[in-house]
């Protein structure tokens, strides 16, 4: 009896240890000995055209190494990858939206990322992108991202019919929006349900704040001024609220998503849409009637006329330092960054007109080149001011609250400062001590 009892206890303990071992198992090899690399990314971290997946299949045929893509909605990935990295369950390759300010905190590269400094391909990436994927003079990430610029795209036909011109100030923006609304067309497509989109006007117009009061970014980084002191930012928030109240975002726009924006714009239900260069291709492919019917202008909230450039801000690939297959990860990075493969990623994407590899010829049209020549440029606030980008989704939530009537612009600004202070404290930032 006693023997059976002891045997049973031993059995229970064995079962428990097997369970624990099972929980800890993160082996990405298949039983056959074939290597599978897991690739975790947000939806917008890889081209929606599926070119990366197609190329990965070819890579598998060539090398026998399978790439298993785990694609997560944008709004969740930013948080999920942080938890996965901390729990040691991150994929072999993972995408993270990067900028030079938040990458070290979000990725903790020394602990989590494979050092790529001595790889041949790092020397071929553009100088502008390197700071966003580097930390303490070491390169950790691979990016295909272009320097990101958000323009307001507009429907030329609607503008011509109404006899209106692209605005150069907020007053003009408001006036044309009213004319469009009078024709029962949504003047500007807004998408608060996606969480992040409505935040763009606040910080993409950051160069405007910096140009009118030089040193603003530095003061904010040194905690010598508060975001709440940025009267121009408050003005932009108030103008967004005014747009919402005047119906320029349409009725019940709070449920709109970014994905549905192309449809609304392509079907001419909305006359204006905030997007990145290359939008013309994406829209006209889905809605051929829209071909040659799209123009663009810099977003005029807060009377902004400066082009905001984000040198990073998009996804970069990192190899997981704790992966069981670091050599295979490196081999994949070497393969995908070969010249011809870079060209394929660029050509097969959904319409980006530039890529952060100087060896690949950009596709910018003369319109963009001329426009950029005629306007000043500056770095967007989230890429130059600390602790803005990590709270992007929170600010999005606050703005939705403001549109719904639950918050004021002042409360939004105070919340931004509060969250900056929280993160500075966590990161033991000297300027906040």
């Amino acid at each position: 009896m006693r023997k059976r009892f002891l045997l049973s206890i031993a059995g229970v303990l064995l079962l428990s240890s097997l369970l624990l071992a099972g929980c800890n198992s993160g082996d990405s090899s298949e039983g056959s000995g074939k290597v599978t690399l897991t690739f975790g990314t947000s939806q917008s971290g890889i081209p929606r055209t599926g070119i990366m997946q197609t190329m990965a299949k070819e890579y598998e045929q060539e090398t026998g190494v399978k790439i298993d893509f785990q694609v997560v909605p944008d709004a969740q990935w930013r948080d999920l990858i942080k938890v996965k990295l901390a729990s040691g369950e991150a994929p072999d390759i993972f995408n993270v939206d990067v900028d030079p300010l938040s990458m070290p905190a979000n990725v903790r590269p020394e602990e989590n990322a494979i050092d790529l400094t001595n790889e041949e391909f790092t020397g071929r990436m553009s100088e502008e992108i390197l700071p966003t994927v580097s930390y303490k003079d070491k390169v950790y990430g691979v990016s295909f991202a272009p320097s990101k610029i958000w323009y307001v795209y507009y429907n030329k036909r609607i503008f011509e019919e109404l006899g209106i011109q692209p605005p150069t100030s907020y007053a003009e923006f408001k006036a044309i929006s009213q004319k469009i609304k009078d024709k029962d067309i949504i003047p500007f497509y807004q998408a608060p349900a996606s969480g992040w989109y409505q935040v763009l006007p606040l910080f993409e117009t950051g160069p405007n704040y910096e140009q009118s009061t030089p040193g603003t970014y530095e003061k904010l980084n040194n905690n010598e001024m508060k975001v709440a002191d940025l009267t121009q930012l408050k003005t932009v928030i108030e103008q967004l609220k005014e747009f919402a109240d005047l119906g320029y975002f349409g009725k019940d726009f709070l449920s709109n998503t970014v994905e549905a924006g192309i449809e609304a714009f392509g079907q001419e239900k909305a006359a204006m849409l905030l997007r990145v260069p290359g939008t013309e291709k994406e829209v006209s492919e889905a809605y051929p009637d829209m071909k040659d019917n799209m123009g663009f202008f810099v977003m005029p909230w807060g009377d902004n006329q400066t082009i905001g450039v984000n040198p990073g801000g998009s996804a970069a690939m990192f190899g997981n330092k704790n992966s069981k297959h670091p050599e295979e990860v490196l081999k994949f990075f070497r393969w995908i960054t070969e010249h011809d493969h870079l060209q394929r990623v660029f050509d097969g994407g959904e319409g980006n007109l530039t890529i952060c590899w100087p060896e690949i010829e950009p596709k910018l049209t003369q319109d963009y080149i001329d426009y950029e020549k005629n306007h000043e440029k500056g770095t967007v606030m989230q890429a130059a001011v600390k602790y803005i980008d990590p709270q992007w989704m929170d600010i999005g939530k606050d703005l939705s609250g403001m549109f719904a009537g639950a918050m004021t612009p002042d409360q939004i600004l105070q919340n931004i400062d509060k969250r900056r202070a929280e993160q500075a404290k966590v990161l033991k930032d000297d300027a906040w001590q």
Binding site: I9, A86, S255, K397, G401, A406, V426, K428
Partner: protein, 290 residues
């Protein structure tokens, strides 16, 4: 060794090991972490005492809103599920036609994941093209069409309604079982004495159902306090923070990498549930006399 004393432990040892390993140990660790500054940006864990609790309970009114929302959600959905569950159960045991079919239809949402239910209702409640508003407009009732999940007024009631719809079937099944266990003799005797429907309901049915009502209440309250998926899928706590509850705040804190703070929020939820459970268990242990 006294085998009779060991035998219960022998049978339950496996469950005890697993329970200690996967429930008790993480819970205790969570309580410990709530007193630290543990976060995703550093591998250090420094003891900071009650600082997180001070932030939640005294420092930031937003957290009090989350607690208030959780309590309100629990209270209203518990009452709604109990009342509707009882009503449906009474209806289905009263000899209505195709009772089993109706029972199955009403119970079926219970077996679906809230992710599916949430996505379906998100589509139904879409203010522009959703079935609810389209139907209202087609009936000329434009004034009743609302931004169900996007307005401060309607977002929380909409989540409560969807949650009640999903959960009332389960409560109904509990009540049906309770109703079928009540001896018919009581009703026959009451009928002979001239008792009407309401007298039978309040003098026989409800008192005899008290143990079931208590169980239903416990289930509803514990579910309500733990609510996460309903809010997360339907509104993600919005607009603003209008529908955020404790568990969405826990998720948000963990997601941001503020794990100590998230643990403190979980600990507060644990304490609230422990207090409520204590009182409910006391209530359950009271003898019901007729």
């Amino acid at each position: 060794m006294n085998v009779n004393k060991i035998y219960p432990w022998y049978f339950s040892s496996g469950a005890i090991v697993l329970y200690l390993l996967f429930i008790v140990a993480p819970a205790l660790l969570g309580i410990y972490y709530s007193f630290t500054d543990w976060n995703s940006y550093s591998s250090e864990k420094n003891f900071i005492g009650l600082e997180h609790f001070r932030t939640i309970l005294a420092g930031d009114p937003t957290y009090l809103l989350f607690i208030k929302n959780t309590v309100l959600f629990t209270l209203i959905t518990s009452i709604a599920k109990t009342v509707l569950g009882l009503f449906l159960a009474l209806l289905l045991v009263s000899g209505v036609k195709a009772a089993n079919l109706h029972r199955m239809i009403i119970f079926s949402p219970q077996v679906l994941s809230f992710l599916i239910v949430g996505l379906v209702f998100k589509s139904l409640l879409d203010p522009n093209n959703g079935f609810v508003n389209v139907t209202l407009r087609s009936l000329g009732l434009d004034v009743l069409a609302q931004n169900w999940l996007g307005s401060l007024t309607w977002a929380m009631p909409s989540i409560m309604a969807v949650d009640t719809w999903k959960g009332m079937g389960y409560i109904m099944v509990l009540f049906i079982a309770g109703l079928l266990a009540i001896p018919r003799d009581y009703y026959e005797a009451a009928s002979i004495d001239g008792a009407g429907f309401w007298q039978k309901l309040f003098r026989i049915t409800i008192p005899m159902l008290m143990p079931t009502i208590t169980i239903a209440t416990v289930l509803n309250i514990t579910y309500g306090l733990r609510v996460f998926d309903a809010v997360y899928v339907l509104t993600n706590g919005g607009p603003g923070n209008a529908t955020d509850v404790i568990n969405t705040a826990v998720y948000s804190s963990f997601a941001k990498g503020y794990w100590g703070l998230g643990s403190a929020l979980s600990t507060i939820l644990f304490v609230i549930m422990a207090i409520i459970s204590f009182f409910i268990i006391r209530l359950m242990n009271r003898k019901v006399e007729y």
